[in-house]
Homo-oligomer: 356 residues x 4
């Protein structure tokens, strides 16, 4: 990318787990900065690329179509200058100096943005942020990009699994992403008409699940879908049976929650049950329209923050509008499904997993 | 569906063009009414079914999964009792009496809801509404269901068409739905990175389009996508060349706008151009997650209006919340892309079609 | 379905695991039998439905579109009259008599067809078969329906997972169906450009896999996909490390093969690796065009065998033509990837997993 | 790509309309040539690139994944040295000399391969071919790549359109590719359960179509799909009403066949009918598994022909095996749906369009 002698120079990085929309956010930053003929300095693999001063070459002819692509063209990592701040914070500052950066846009989750916030507050570095978490559990913003794409993917896979559930008269237990918040599971489960939904926010007794399934079966239903979050909390006689524990079979499991629930259902009800873990299929591939437009806007807003030299802030969605908040808000309270949300769906979806 | 002697009896119909989410809205009405053990009386093919007292049998075992399905299980039509009110309004009232209806939920667009509003206002019939238009051009609600599914479909098809555009170094002119409003075209075009977007809200001179494409080509770009709304308004030397006119080839065309633009581009620039009309592929098939959840909520809200005997109103989304408004608002001003929207995207998307 | 007094009466069942195309095969049987106005007697859940004389109601208005749907409308099970032949074989014969069956079409895998073959050979029952195994490991037929749909699904999921692999510079280990034969893994792996493919037919030393990945990485490749069959055979110093064994972490695992390979790669190469199990997502949902047409033809052929009273036979694809073979051939040798196949791909795909 | 002093140098080009699998064929050529460390010289835009000596840069790190991508990375055109042979044939020969080509692989349809054949026969140039036509109408090979992907796409779109057809009780007339052969229409129509299929190979009276639809409607069917090939031949009182003619409305139409059929059905039966043209959506986007593997094999076979110096030949699929035939066979008789094929489906699909 050509540059005049006085062009503004803006670094950019993506950190943490990938989410559909990262490339759209990069695209939004780039497009807005085109207006002022700024030069983009694209760091590789999150903060690691800034620490080690490694950059990526971006072909300007392909920047326009970046909005359509999954993953992140910059690469990502969970590297963080505050793991070894004595060594790495100076290296970050050296990179800023060497690259003559006027600003840096950090796109990432809690870890990435926390580092951005400290670098701004403690070191005075000109940093702005774009929040990212596929789990949608960030209180600073109404939604995070990638979330609705993940919901659509999980829903579509549940839709598809119905043919096997129906043919074999089975319960399919579908494990969705969400260690601490049930957003993806709840939205995908409601959208796909899951018969039971289990989320971290509302511990549920196994007996409630069994009872719900027995009732359904008594009405002539021969198959069912149980949507469970990775981090759902399940009780047996008041004792937490979370997937973080070893289960009765003595193993910690990848896909622990779904497998555990499926085995218990089959054992208790004599209703054949199978577990499937959707895993990375929820986060890989191209973003949906909602997330593309949303991430473009968040990226463009971050670029505007840079142009206005409003450092220490990040773009966010509040009440349907793109606005900005302090970077420190990214690391506040985790946003979980509210009792209101759970109750709203409980009362007409009859979802016992969401009931008290 | 079994019924006690005193069960509330609620009619339901869907009218107008189909939109993904109609079945989810029906499902939402049904689920909420289950709480009070109301009886659903499902009329066939919109107001036509009420006029002629034709009902559909719904299997309660399949109502739960209705949320996942495209189209409308009730069937739809544009029949309207006010075409021949002297004959048909009494027939509607007779059906209400014969079926002992305590209420009726009308799901539909402007025509369907206008009839509902008059039947309530002039005849005192206990009617509530759920607004529906895939074009998203209803000012009474932030969004309408089906819209985001249509955007996702159009975007995905544009993504796919890129391989042919690239291989043949062509301009693909993609005609999207939207006779009076450019919502689908604008959202799908932005999400798919369309190089030019043409909408009804902003008349554009053909020369501007040519100039934009020439500039792109000069940077080395060999293919491009032009997203055009059915009803886009194109000027040639200040004269409107809309697709409603005969073009210079003497024919009125289905797919007129796209075809006309493609021919002009190819002729003026010597850049091979092809038109494709996405048509019904934008509105058919299962809804996306956003529309399923949204339509469920609108349907449930309408059922609650029935339970609260708040007739003459319809459910709506306002500032992100599901609420209710007067039925008369359904037939107010058409909501089009705002100058603000167009300007926002103009300034970082460089979309000349959206510029003044 | 109406019937004349002398109409031929033909039972039909589907047994074993579901595969995309079962409904198309049913549709093919039905369509052909329409020509002779035969009556279809659809048994529920495989041989179980014949033993217990349980039938399914099929709506003739929906038979036509059955070709498009995944799963089996008849339901399936692994019930078999030869589990308790003293009790159940007479019950099968009683059902034949009570239902006045002129023939029965059994659609299923090895277990289902073996029972069909014995009932024909030992009891003289008028049975024909349609072979089904999603694993494509039946030597009696060139391909089995469902296989190509499963390959397409697995390939599409691998394509999608590339964005996450690329963004995180990871190895994705993708576990495909195939306990005894590597067909799905090999076809999907080749089609998706997997860098390593591991199948049951060719035991491979872990060191070979590591070496292959090291070589790739040395050329600058930062991510890779390893496609592994459930039943792949992996050696460590000549000792079989199959997924049927407990691994070094002391657990037997669902998704054992993929998880084991991922852990070993990450440990040996320091290259971050993740496993994903595609599982039921490969077999659920609607069939692709190839399998729809193929299953229709196999079903129609089976109906013709019935009409020609050529019992004890089943339809099959041989050298691209639909023909028929003895039912006993269904239970012969398992068809696995041939050395020729493996060598063909080895020599130009450089797939070490397929090399000696 | 590095090269030793004596490395074999092999040109490659793709010509004609794009088809899913072109990149896979390029990938197959490249992979096989890797074995002998040959140098690939990739010409841009078919014969045009050879005439003007324009080449494309291919990044070896991305060649492996080329198998997954739609379109052609080389670009394509219908340029042909025999349009102006006096000028262009010498230019082709000059490029061969300047680039020191030991061979050239021409991937393309009738036009591309005919030029290859003449250049080999008349000029002695070392050329081999890979046949390509999405229409599957090449008699030299059992199938052509891209065809099954197009069938799957058309089928999936028809499946999707059913929800709109059902909701509005309409006939959807779906126009598929195929000017001279009905392969795509017939396969997609059979796979999607189309109620009527109209192909070029079998002229049909409109009255037959009307009669078929009336019969269906009399059985209670309220919607239907009519699959028509672009080049279908429709008669009215024995007079051909092809889409190449002006219709009664005075216009020649893109999408002429489908539109014409829809209007006539609606007029004659009073059954609402809509036409949709699938167009480029059938040929764009990534290939399916079948076509990827098939095109890889054809490409690899062509590379082997080069290595064995068997010029003047092209790879082909014959009776399920990849083999080679003379280039001159590419330009023989067009392969159309056989009467046998039509009869086979006629007799159990009751497809009148395919009946005599």
């Amino acid at each position: 990318m050509s540059e005049g002698p006085s062009a503004m120079r803006v670094g950019i990085l993506t950190g943490g787990g990938d989410a559909p929309g990262l490339n759209a956010a990069i695209c939004g930053v780039w497009r807005r900065l085109q207006d002022v003929e700024a030069v983009l300095v694209p760091f590789r693999d999150g903060w690691g690329g800034v620490i080690e001063d490694r950059v990526v070459h971006l072909d300007p002819r392909h920047m326009h179509e970046l909005v359509t692509r999954g993953g992140t063209i910059l690469g990502s990592s969970s590297a963080n200058p505050y793991r070894d701040p004595g060594r790495d914070v100076p290296r970050v500052k050296a990179t800023f100096a060497r690259r003559r950066l006027d600003a840096l846009v950090a796109i990432g989750g809690e870890g990435t943005l926390l580092a951005a916030e400290r670098l701004h507050r403690e070191e005075g570095l000109p940093v702005v942020g774009v929040p990212k978490t596929i789990d949608n559990d960030l209180s600073a913003t109404d939604f995070t990009f990638g979330f609705f794409t993940a919901v659509d993917r999980a829903m579509t896979m549940i839709d598809q699994l119905r043919t096997t559930a129906d043919s074999h008269h089975r319960v399919m237990v579908v494990e969705c992403m969400g260690r601490h918040a049930g957003w993806i599971t709840a939205y995908a489960g409601v959208a796909a008409g899951a018969e039971v939904i289990l989320v971290p926010e509302r511990p549920v007794e196994l007996n409630e699940v069994f009872q719900r399934l027995r009732t359904l079966r008594a009405t002539g239903k021969e198959s069912a879908v149980v949507a469970v979050a990775e981090g759902c909390r399940i009780l047996e006689d008041g004792r937490l049976l979370s997937s973080d524990e070893k289960d009765e079979y003595g193993c910690y499991k990848v896909g622990g929650a779904g497998e555990m629930v499926a085995r218990r259902i089959q054992h208790a009800l004599g209703w054949e049950a199978r577990a499937i873990v959707l895993g990375h299929l929820q986060r890989s591939g191209p973003p949906g329209a909602f997330d593309r437009i949303f991430a473009l806007r968040l990226g463009a807003k971050a670029a505007r923050l840079v142009m206005e030299r409003r450092f220490g802030r990040m773009s966010a969605l509040r009440n349907g509008d793109v606005t900005d908040v302090a970077l420190s808000e990214a690391v506040g309270e985790r946003k979980v499904l509210s009792p209101t949300f759970i109750d709203r769906y409980q009362d007409f979806f009859l979802v016992p997993a969401l009931s008290p």
